[in-house]
Each structure stands twice: as structure tokens, then as C-alpha cells.
Amino acid sequence: MTEEMIGKSVKRLKALEKVTGNAMFVHDMEVQGMLYAKMKLSPHAHAKIVNIDTSKAERLPGVWTVLTGKDLPYKVGLYLVDKDILAVNKVRYQGEPVVAVAAESEEIAEQAIELIEVEYEKLDAVLDVSDAVKEDAPLVHENIEELESAPVFFPKPGTNIAHHTKIRKGDVDKGFEEADYIIENEFDLPMVDHTAMETHTSIGQWKPGKKVKLWTSAQSPFAVRNLLANGLHLNHEDIEVTVPYVGGGFGGKAGIHFEPLVTCLSRASQGRPVKITMSRMEEFNSVPVRQGLFSRLKTGVTKDGKIVAQETEFLWDSGANADYGVNVTRAAATAGAGPYEIDNVKLDSKTVYTNKIFGTAYRGFGHLEILWAVERQMDLVAEEIGMTPYDFRMKNALRRGSVTITGEHIGDSHGKVTECLEAAAKEIDYDNRSSEDLEEGKKRGKGIALLHKAPAMPTNTGTAAFLKFNENGSVNLTVSLVDYGQGTYTALAQIVADQLNMPVEKVNVVFEQNTDTQPYDWQTVASKGLFMSGNATIKACQDMAQQLKEVAAQPLRASVEDLIIEDEKVKIRHHKDQYVTFKELAMGYTYPNGNGIGGPLVARGNYIAQGLSNIDPETGQGHPALDWTYGAHAVEVIVDEETGEFEVKKIASAFDAGKVINESNVIGQIQGGVIQGYGSAVMEGYQFSDEGRLLTNSFTDYKVPSIADIPELTPIIIENAQEDGPYGARGVAEHPMISVPPAVANAVQDAIGVQLKEMPVIPEKLFELIEEKKNK
């Protein structure tokens, strides 16, 4: 049965509810007596709030509550507690919520917002990270040393630097002395929006006795509960967070967002439930994004192509808050050399505050950003030293016996990035790059880029699973991982079916999440869901199997060791015709005379990340990685050498998934991820005016890929098992997005020789570079 169930493309759970429009998202929910919230947003990037006049709004019939920052003396945040619920004293970005209203209808709330007058005194804004790190830069947060933070983050007093991760390996000066070539480049990329199709939406209800009930479109019900409890000084057991169907997340719904606001609005509205739903424009303006990144890389290489030293600086544009951004800075730094072995490394990664919408987790968690720089640098170096990008990567790639920049030894349980590269390159016929078949002026180019990423999470991250039997011998699995499209619940159902040797149709994974009834899970992030919850589920199944056997042993008059589980039955190993069915055991076994034994069966399993340690604050040495997933993209482009217009003809993407549990869902993650990465590569990016006003705040101005934009794509799955992963599996959810942009840019460079260092890759920029090259 194992062969049949694991790796099979079992149909996605809850697909029927979704395809019939029956699935209920928070977007669709109404609660009796519900009020509607709207926010007044800051028009300025940086300004002192001189006065707020809410009197007219308060008098408008139908308005229940008007709140300003002064009413909410709380800070919230995940790793660095730096977020106000509404701006206090000053605004730090255009789009920051300043006043909130709860009213009987959305229309009345909107009218009330119009009646509120806010007087500002503009302050100097800092919009660029390079300016923000200067000594005389305006400060986004004045007293960052007073902010509460997780003990592994270090805000630098008197600066805009919210955190600085240092990685030191070997002796970088000595390394550069050994180098025959030293090549230095700078790279840049803009902020990018998640654009989950369901915008952020939450309903909060304040209950007597300082209790709170929340329905929210969130990735992590327990993180919402924990951060709300900490932020508003409430007890965990008094907060009930429900997460129904979630319309996409991609990191944007990790951590906490508008839950504290609706809670406070409800409290001030006599406990009426309050709902807030972001309009798409608010989603662009006021909901956090993927951070921008400025990178500087200096690489020392020997004549035969061995990288001997690398000095790296990452300046993360975290915008006005860094509650999550500090950990992007840290996590991405630990992967900051790319999947290569370099003996001498000095890497500095800094979270920098600016007066823009703030950053948060986004699929890839900093790795798309750093690998834009690393993988472009690899091609620039390869060109300089006269090696092919393929050979140069193969020479330096991590392999068994390599030591990473944080001191981790690559062993048998790791995946193989070289196999990914080989497979992807082969798929696009990498060595054949002739343009002879093309019309004049068109050039074919082929590019490759590697990637790696481990989950970014606390070293003691844990999760749990409950399993219970139903009367008919079916089971319910309960976890607190949220399946907002990844398909993880389907894979978990397959694991249960395999472990308990029963049909997958009889495994129900409880879909709606609720912190009162579900076991704990830290967060649904980091591509660790199947790994961690899969292991917890296996343990719950083992617990259940043991219980089934212990009860069955009595009527079967056999010892537990002699029993096996097969076809929904507990059987005597050598007398398989003697058995008790799951159904007979589910609620307690009943003897013919009416005597009952056992009782309703419930089982549990948990899992905690093992052997992980925090990195040393001065050297970055430590073991922060649960598992590394490796991958490679290979891209074929055809570029017009005059205009810079180009067409991506084909992408091949290979990932070492360890072991596939559900093939069609892995393919789904690859296809969806690659296209999200493709959006970053060729069209997406926030643009701001000189005053810090967001210019790209609608789907008209901020384009994401449509079905008409997608190139041919071949997903490739490689399976080198991860020892501690469930069945050998490792996460592959974020990875497909990473390194798509450099693969495209590398292919363009291969075609027409221009060296693009700024994302996205668009014809306008290529045209400029073509002209520059001509004029040289």
C-alpha cells in the first residue's frame, strides 16, 4: 500500500467546495450585528501629526466608534515589536493608518472618514536605503533601543538600522590575496506585492471578561493569538482565533495585521463585531510587502575558477516597520553565498528603516532577493574569467563534504544542487545556443541560476497533530497548519492513509482552524509545513496504531507484538483471518455479551525542530537550518538586439524535493511559484514618487502575470531523501519562485551581452544598456 499512496496524485481536499463557490472565506462572512471599519490613511511619507479633528465624524448617524493612535497605547509585532495599531504622534509612510472608524455600513464608515480632518507638519523623508544608513539621516523610529525584540535581534540606537546580521567564515583578506581576479558589482531590486486574491480581512469581537473572538484571513492562527495577547495584554486562553478558507497568503498573511485594530474597535463599540476588508488600493498602500534590496558583492576568484573570497553587503529596504523584516535579513544572510562553497566570507546584512510601506515575509523569505545578486554575480564573474556559467557553478557548488558559510557540513541527507542544475540545463538543450534559425536582429540566449533555502524559523519551532476515529471507522486529522492552497492537507491525508493502512477517502483533515480546539502550530510559513506536520502526523498515527492493537489484543487473545494493521483491520500476523475491524474498535470494542473495552480512540503526535541552534551574533556560525531544498532554473530567451524586447521561450525548473508525497501538488507548487517569480523577473515592482507616494497602487499600474503571459515550463523533480523528513520529503513551496529573475537576466546577457543589475528585467532598461554598449 505504501507504494500506492505515497507519491500518488490524490485529488486535492476541499476542491469541490472551492469549485462550486461554496467555500466560505472571511471575505464572505457576516456576523450578526456586525459593524464595518474603514481607515484614514496618511498622505505623507513622513510627517508629524499636529491635530486630528474627529468631531464631525463622531456626530454622523450610524458611526459607533472613531479611534486614533492616542487611544491605542500598544505596540505589536513578531520579532521586533515596532508597529503601532494606528499612527502615534507621527506618520512614517504614505498609506499608514491614522484614524479608524466603525459604523453600521461601509458607506457610513467611508463618509465618516471623509469628515475627519488631520493636520500634518511634513518631516524630511528618507526613501532610499543608502541615504537611510548615513549618519545625518532622518530617523524613522527615534528610540529603537527601547523596542522590545526577540533576543537574536539587535536594533542599533540612533540609526535606522533595525538589525545587523554578520557572517564571518575563514579570513576574507587572505582569500582576496590568493585571488587572481577580484570582481565587484552592485545590484538592486524594488519592493514587490504579494497580491493574494483575497485581500486582508478580519472580523473581531470583544466579549465580556476581556475575551476576544476573531475570524481572520491569516496564515497562522496561533501567531495571531500570541501576538494579540502580548500586544493588548490579554490571556491566551481568552482569545479564540478562527481561520476558515484563506484566499492566498504567500507570506503576506503571516504574523499579525489588522486583528488588533478590529479587536479595539469592537471593544469601543460595546462588543459589536467589527469587520475590516482592505480594498485593493489599501492592500497595495497599507499592507506590508516584500522588501527591496540593495546588494554589493565583491568576489575573489582564482584563474581556474575557484571562488576563494567573497565580501557581501545587503541593505534591506524594510520600510517603516521591521517587525518581520529583521528575520528576513537574518535568514537570508545565512544563505547569502548561494549554494556554493566559499572558504572565506565576510557578509553583512542590515535591516534598514525608510519612509515607505513596510516589509514582511514573502514566499522565498529574502532568498529571491539575495539570489538575484548572487546569481547575477556568478554570471558576471564567469564572463570576466572566461568560463561558462555552467562550469563555473559546477566547480563551486555545494556537494557532500562542503562546509556552508554558517559552518554546516553537507552530508548524505542533503539534496544535490548539482543534479538539479544538470537536469534543468539538459532540458533546455543548454549547449545549443545558435541564433541561425532566427530572423535577423534576434538573438537566442540561455541562462541558468541555482537556488537554495532552508526554513526561517525559531530553533525550537514545534507543531502537533490530533487524530480521532469516527463511528464508521474513518478518522479526522487535526493540525494547525493552514492550507491556503499549498495542498498540504491532501499530503497529510495520504500519510495517514499509508500509516494506518486505510483508504485516503476515509481520512478527513479538519479544514477550519480554531485555536480553542486545534493543537498548536507556530506558523504556516517557511516551507516547513509538510516536514513538521508530516512528522507529527506520523507520530499520531503510530500512537493510534498502538492503541488499536492494545484494544484488539484482548478479543483476539493475542499479544500486541503479534498484531498487524491491514485494510482497516487489526489482524493476527500469522492468522490473518482472525481480526477486528477499525469500525469495531473506533468507539470502544464491544463483546457479544455487551461488555465494552477501550473507549473512543484519540491519538496525538508532536514534532519539534531538532538540533538547531541560534547563529553567533559576531560570526554567524551555528545551525539554523531544518533542511535545505536545492533547485535550478534554466531559461531560453530570444532577444531583439536593437530594441531589447525579448520573449522567454522556455523555463525548466528542477528541485530536490527529497521525496514526493503528492506529485500533482508538487507540480502545482512549481508552476505557481515559477510564475510568481516570473512576475518579479519581468514586470513587478513598487514605484514611488520623489515624495514617497506609491505610484503603483492598482492592478492597472501594478501588473502581475496573466494566463496570456506564461512561457513554456517544464517542472523537474529530483528525489534524494532527507533523513528526518516524512518519507524523506522536504519543503518545496517557496523555492520555485527563487532565482527565476537571475535566470532570465543571465539568459538575456548570454543573448546580447548586456549586464543588467537591476530588477525587473524590462525592455526599457535593456534598451538603455544596449545604447550604452554601442556608445562605448
Partner: protein, 157 residues
Amino acid sequence: MKTINLTVNGRDFQLDVKDNEILLDTLRKKLNFTGAKEGCGEGECGACTVIMDGRAVTSCIILSVEADGSELETIEGQSIGEEISDIQEAFIEENAIQCGFCTPGMVMSAKALLDRNPNPSDEEIDIALSGNICRCTGYYSIRDAVRRAAEKKGGNK
């Protein structure tokens, strides 16, 4: 306020709407057809797609008064009890669903296409669905699902 008549999934409704009320709100809030979603409110994402007199429209930029007297089809009309349409079946079989938020709109755009062109080329599928954004799937499985649905409906290929 104006009184309008709508036929939704074959059922007749008469109701009062405000002059500036949009069809999506009428469907979702007054008639409780919540399958169509608001993803952008400006006709750019397709999550609110319904079929109006045979054409796929983004109901978030149509005034309810404009829809007076029209026949509407929504996702709720595509299944009866356990029975789902060929298109819906194809979406499940091709795993063309991830988070599910864009799915009702996608299915309705696909239906409008296949109703007028039972055997579309890939290019025709892409044109018909290019106004529907899906951030999860990368669209490959959706294209496959529409193709498969066409086959089920007896288009050649």
C-alpha cells in the same frame, strides 16, 4: 432607489437597488450569491466574473440598474447537489485549484468561452481567461482544465 428584475440561475428576483449600487454587491449582499468575489473593485482581476446574457462580465464594474431585465449565471448555478458541471469536474481533475478564491470567476469565464466556442485553441483560451488573475497556480493547470472540459463537452482533440 430603483426596482429592478434579475433572473439569476433561472430564478426570478425583483428588488430595490441604489442608483450607484454595483451588481457584485447586489449579488453578494442582497441575494447572498457569495461565490463571486471582489478582488480589486475595478474590473482588473476577474474574481467577480458572472455571465450576463451570455457574456462573461466583471460584476464589480457593472451598475445593478444596468443589469435590469438581464439573465445572470453565477457559480452557484453550475452545480446541483452532488452534480457538478464538466468544467468544474475538469478543474478538480487537473488540480487547477489552489486557494480557490479566483476559481468561481475562472469557471464562469471558461463557461462563457465554451458556450460560444466549444473547441477553443490554447490562444483562444488564453484570451478568454486573460482577465482573470490567479496568483497560485501559474495557470498551466487552468488551461489544461479548460481543454479537458472542452473534450468532455465533445469538442474534438
